[in-house]
Symmetry: none
Subunit: 204 residues, 4 copies
Amino acid sequence: MAFQTIKSSVKDTELIERRRKQIIQSAIVLFQEKGFHRTTTREIAKESGFSIGTLYEYVRTKEDVLFLVYEAINDRVYNHLETAIELKEPSLENVYMAIDSYYRLIDDMEEEVVILYQEVKSLAPHLREVILDKERQMVKFLKDALLLSMPEGFDKQRAELLANNIFVQGQMWGFRRWILRKQFTLENYIKYQIDFLKCSLNND
Amino acid sequence: MAFQTIKSSVKDTELIERRRKQIIQSAIVLFQEKGFHRTTTREIAKESGFSIGTLYEYVRTKEDVLFLVYEAINDRVYNHLETAIELKEPSLENVYMAIDSYYRLIDDMEEEVVILYQEVKSLAPHLREVILDKERQMVKFLKDALLLSMPEGFDKQRAELLANNIFVQGQMWGFRRWILRKQFTLENYIKYQIDFLKCSLNND
Amino acid sequence: MAFQTIKSSVKDTELIERRRKQIIQSAIVLFQEKGFHRTTTREIAKESGFSIGTLYEYVRTKEDVLFLVYEAINDRVYNHLETAIELKEPSLENVYMAIDSYYRLIDDMEEEVVILYQEVKSLAPHLREVILDKERQMVKFLKDALLLSMPEGFDKQRAELLANNIFVQGQMWGFRRWILRKQFTLENYIKYQIDFLKCSLNND
Amino acid sequence: MAFQTIKSSVKDTELIERRRKQIIQSAIVLFQEKGFHRTTTREIAKESGFSIGTLYEYVRTKEDVLFLVYEAINDRVYNHLETAIELKEPSLENVYMAIDSYYRLIDDMEEEVVILYQEVKSLAPHLREVILDKERQMVKFLKDALLLSMPEGFDKQRAELLANNIFVQGQMWGFRRWILRKQFTLENYIKYQIDFLKCSLNND
DNA sequence: CATGAATGAGGGTTCATTCAT
DNA sequence: TATGAATGAACCCTCATTCAT
């Protein structure tokens, strides 16, 4: 995955993968608790169970950790969405199910999602682009699924915007839970959002 | 406004207000450019046109500046929304117009909106609550406007969620403009979103 | 002096000068004791009588301190040589006296001289050039003095090399004192070197 | 050679010698490029073609590498000088030839010579003494050769200083080449310096 | 003998905040 | 009120050295 993007001075790739998993896991907890800037590299190392020196064997800068975290979160959502959508027979019913499972994933990843909106700006342009690309891909999945499930001639822009809305409303469940959880259950939230989508598709 | 919330060692309230306006203005520019953490208090002071010592006469911590900025941005949106919605005769048509003007404001404030998602977490709970309260208020405005414009018995939860969607979709135009502007004009975007709202309201 | 070369965030130039003098003085002692790399910025600050933060108000990097030190040492030698040589009537006798006083200065500056051979390479090219230029100037002083005191037609290359020899033999008294002091007094050393020069000038 | 001075955890002395040669060679290149302190032990190991662990089998500290390098350079000059001077019949002509070949060696070793003035101070007193002793020896060679070639009763101090001068002027060709090479060829330089020596010897 | 992952003390630098003027 | 020099805790990162395999 990130082996081309983030350099390590350790050679054993299997070890790199294992250590980086530890790093990502600790960083997610810490970033969610205190944000990227308030988290120190020493804390990440300590939480990961090794020394600061070891951390820097697997990562070159603190920013690298941020990228690793973004990538891990993004990848997880991406893979989930991809498998949920790649159906033999595209149909609206299947799109709804995919969205449903997407929302449930977000619910499961609530800590992680909060991080997504923190510091993409801190990333070097090159790394930032990797992250945003994947995000664009995800929106595209949703859009394509909609287009394939609707009669030909369905407005592409409309599909694009709906895909964006779905995507963001999913994340909204994560990063605005302080307001939404007071009034909605996950089931509730999903049902409503899918209902809204339905009529947005049917109506002209 | 913030006179109860943020302490100053200067007495002249008129002066406080003037200086703080300068601070907010500079900070918005800087935070948007480099984010809250990468901006130094010295830079804020310099951009504001006075010395670091003076900055600390009108603000007690760097976090105070963040709060001031949040508050200023939030207030502007809030006031805009309030005056747009407070109609004598609530009607759907008027709600649509309010949303339209809300989206246009966001478009106008694109720099500011990006800041909103940065560092609410950095605020002391006490200050954070002030900000979030105002946000809740705004959603409530939208929700109430919807309820008043719809026949009695309209599902309150549905209204709540629609209000949230509208609110977030507005902000989405600000913080996801890197993806949206490629495919939509502001007019376009507004039209589509209001269309979606319409059928979400009409349909059962 | 260094005001164009080394930036400071303090405005009061008189203060800059005073503080930098302290820095230079402390750094000379420390560099001579432990060398540039083994000396920490914290030590320099402490020895200077202020905090590490203050040090960095007057200097931007550790390398800047090195430059300041080089410049101070070089300048002192330079000024000494300049005033010793700028005579109304150039004459060999006067050149000998200048050399004599140059050697005595080096003797006085033994600690400083050792530093000169340490880390010019560590300096940014731009700063290094400033230092080397001054050194070239000094050799030129000696060379010109020789040429003016000798009959016209004296071999210029010979003068150049003699100037270099004198210059380096002066420094040799500083940086090889561990071997020379065992066998020579300063008086001795000067007398011999000037004697050598004399016959190198007279003979063909 | 260094087997008594620098400890190794490897027994096979032939191997030690081979490995150390590699170490010295790499270190010379690196020290000359970036100086002792800016060169890392990892770099030395890598350039030597083996792992960091292996490096530490043949050397106990980084300082040991410095010593090894000093010793290698010094030894080479020393041996050269020794064989050049140890004549059956001491004569001035032979001294001049020895000096000539010494200067040519320095010219050949320009990279190495630069290193000599870097960090003798970093060495433990015990190691430093080994290096300086050899240097003293070299000066003594020159001095003795002079004394043997001159009529009895030649001033010993004078010989001592001349020997020092020759020695340092040789090194000067190495470490001040940035200024000398602009104006002298090696031939030139040697000729002048030997000329100077001649008249310093002849004249009273 | 060789390897290279692990360690952690320590270094250079930044920056929010204070306080005497 | 306004200034800006002074402070020092804290941060990111490096690198000599060790040791289990």
